[in-house]
């Protein structure tokens, strides 16, 4: 009802809107070191043993780590553009953390280079890149105009150029406003988000096809792009909620980002839990019902050799348990519950990416089924840890909230009435 006096001083003058530089240095150094060690171990263990199976396993799990990292980035990009598009006043105080995650799309491009190079030079992660493997494959011949190495590379360059351009521009609009206070930058960001969302939807859908779906190039699912989107936006919301809660623990933004903002993040988290379940069940259900061999084989592979246990764990851990946990209003307003839920959901998101990618890299007919082992964990942890290390540096590099957002007053006095 009434403006509180605490916020009358300018945001820029406050002491608690920047991360402590020493803490950030230590944390990012630790994360980057873990990442570097893991990537190094993966290279040594996976690529120098001379065992083709182990090399494929290492490459696939590294790809899993890359997918988790860029998933955060792309999910955050979607949220930033949606917040701009709907002119979301309440989100002014939390938007900067989404922007920080979004802006790390370019290191993800670098993290992707090893996957591409090793696939081009050695045993490809994507079986269709192997001319011997696809020789005489009628289904592949039909897809060849789209699914060939040259066009694959061109597409990936196009995706990354578009994403880096969008992320860089939106991030610059926001940080320039911190310096100049120019309110028109908000309008520019909003305009860019309109066509940006369209470009984003098309590029991420095709990237999902290219990176995950065509690992099994006989298989196809038209809703795979939405499935990828649902999982990654949910993961990005969890990551940002966790970042904000950790900042709160260290005494940052304590009276700025309040339980009212966490409540809304909790609602978004709950929403994307349900959305993910809806999309992944629909995809499964349609394929199960139609019962066409070239569609069902993807699920068949993921229900055999122990992967079925993970599938059941996913439906419980990524849907039923968080659905119940985030249902009561007091739980969505509890920082402790939200911190637990965000870590839990990111863990199950990672397990899901393993479940999507890893069953594909061994041939059940010729190899012993390999379940996840330490090599998988190390290989996936490498890119994720590097990503998080860079993210900590990014968070510490500027103010934790936009300083001159024209809608900031609405965010400062945000309340949930329902």
């Amino acid at each position: 009802m009434s403006g509180s006096g605490a916020h009358n001083t300018s945001l820029a003058d406050r002491g608690d809107i920047r991360m402590s530089p020493s803490a950030a240095r230590v944390l990012s150094a630790v994360l980057l070191a873990i990442g570097a060690v893991c990537v190094g171990l993966t290279l040594v263990l996976g690529l120098t043993t001379g065992d083709k199976t182990v090399a494929r396993q290492a490459l696939a799990s590294y790809h899993v780590g890359f997918l988790i990292a860029i998933g955060f980035s792309l999910g955050a990009m979607a949220i930033v553009m949606i917040l701009h598009q709907v002119n979301a006043g309440w989100a002014g105080l939390i938007r900067r953390q989404f922007e920080n995650v979004m802006s790390l799309v370019w290191p993800c491009a670098i993290l992707f280079i090893p996957v591409i190079l090793l696939s081009l030079l050695g045993d490809p992660l994507w079986k269709w890149m192997d001319p011997e493997y696809v020789a005489g494959d009628a289904l592949y011949d039909h897809k060849k105009p789209y699914l060939n190495t040259t066009f694959f590379l061109i597409r990936n360059i196009v995706y990354f150029v578009i994403w880096i351009w969008l992320a860089h521009s939106l991030f610059r609009y926001s940080t320039q406003q911190d310096l100049t206070g120019d309110k028109w930058l908000t309008a520019k960001a909003r305009r860019m988000s309109s066509y940006g969302l369209l470009l984003f939807a098309l590029t991420t859908a095709f990237a999902a096809f290219d990176w995950e779906m065509t690992l099994d190039f006989h298989w196809f699912s038209t809703m795979y792009g939405v499935y990828f989107f649902a999982a990654n936006v949910g993961a990005a919301i969890c990551l940002v909620t966790f970042i904000l809660l950790m900042l709160r623990r260290s005494g940052r933004l304590a009276d700025l980002v309040t339980v009212e903002h966490y409540h809304d993040l909790g609602k978004l988290m709950f929403g994307f839990v349900v959305f993910w379940a809806y999309i992944s069940f629909s995809q499964y259900f349609l394929i199960w019902y139609a019962n066409i061999p070239e569609e069902t084989m993807w699920y068949q592979r993921r229900q055999a050799d122990g992967w079925g246990t993970i599938a059941i764990a996913l439906s419980l851990g990524r849907f039923i348990l968080p659905f119940i946990l985030l249902m009561p209003r007091p739980f969505r307003r509890s920082p402790a519950v939200l911190a637990f839920a965000s870590v839990w959901l990111i863990g199950f998101h990672a397990l899901e990416v393993f479940w999507i990618v890893r069953p594909q890299v061994y041939d059940p007919a010729t190899y012993e089924p390999i379940m996840l082992n330490l090599l998988d964990v190390a290989a996936a942890l490498g890119p994720v840890s590097l990503f998080l290390g860079l993210l900590v540096r990014k968070i510490a590099s500027g103010p934790l909230v936009p300083l001159h957002d024209p809608r900031m007053d609405e965010s400062l006095h945000h309340k949930n009435y329902i």
Binding site: M1, F281, Y284, F285, W288, Y289, N291, R329, K415, Y417
Partner: protein, 183 residues
């Protein structure tokens, strides 16, 4: 509109306010004074009026939960009874009781029962439907859909006292304090 009977017992007391802020602070006074059977009427939604009035969270959610559980379990039970027990149908060689194919109907019945329960619980808890309301016999009440904000205290309220309540309504800035009689 019929003239109200003058000999009828008092149903409640009304007071008018000019602005959302005025009625917000008046509502806080009534909440703190411990009134239970009273309400605020306004032509526009007032953010935070629930807290100012000290309203407890709605009970409708519990009825919806019951509706959801009945809908989901009833939907599953119905399909099991129809397709797997009483009249077994073999659909493309799938198991008689395959949870996948029963999900859409189960989900829809869960939604249907939840939504129906939400509507019925909302109407019941609001005391609806009813033919008439004593406030409809009060001419000035029409203005709460136009430009006035109104607090109405029912005489059923244990704290209701014709003198004390009138004084409290006046103290927090109310004008046109009038009594409303039973219909």
């Amino acid at each position: 509109m019929a003239e109200p009977r003058t000999d009828a017992p008092i149903w409640g007391m009304t007071a008018e306010y000019e602005s959302p802020a005025a009625i917000y602070h008046a509502a806080e006074r009534f909440r703190d004074a411990g009134y239970a059977k009273w309400d605020v009427y306004a032509p526009i939604p007032i953010h935070g009026i629930d807290q100012a009035m000290g309203l407890k969270p709605s009970k409708v959610g519990w009825f919806v939960a019951v509706g959801a559980i009945v809908g989901v379990s009833g939907g599953l039970l119905m399909q099991w009874f129809m397709n797997a027990f009483a009249y077994q149908i073999n659909v493309a060689g799938k198991p008689l009781f395959a949870w996948e194919q029963f999900m859409p109907v189960t989900f829809e019945l869960g939604i249907l029962f939840s939504a129906t329960m939400a509507l019925l619980a909302m109407l019941t808890l609001n005391g609806l439907p009813r033919w008439n309301h004593p406030l409809f016999g009060h001419d000035r009440f029409l203005r709460v859909s136009d430009d006035r904000f109104m607090i109405v205290v029912e005489s059923k309220d244990p704290k209701f006292d014709a003198e004390a309540t009138r004084r409290l309504l006046e103290e927090c800035g109310g004008t046109h304090i009038e009594t409303v009689v039973e219909e």
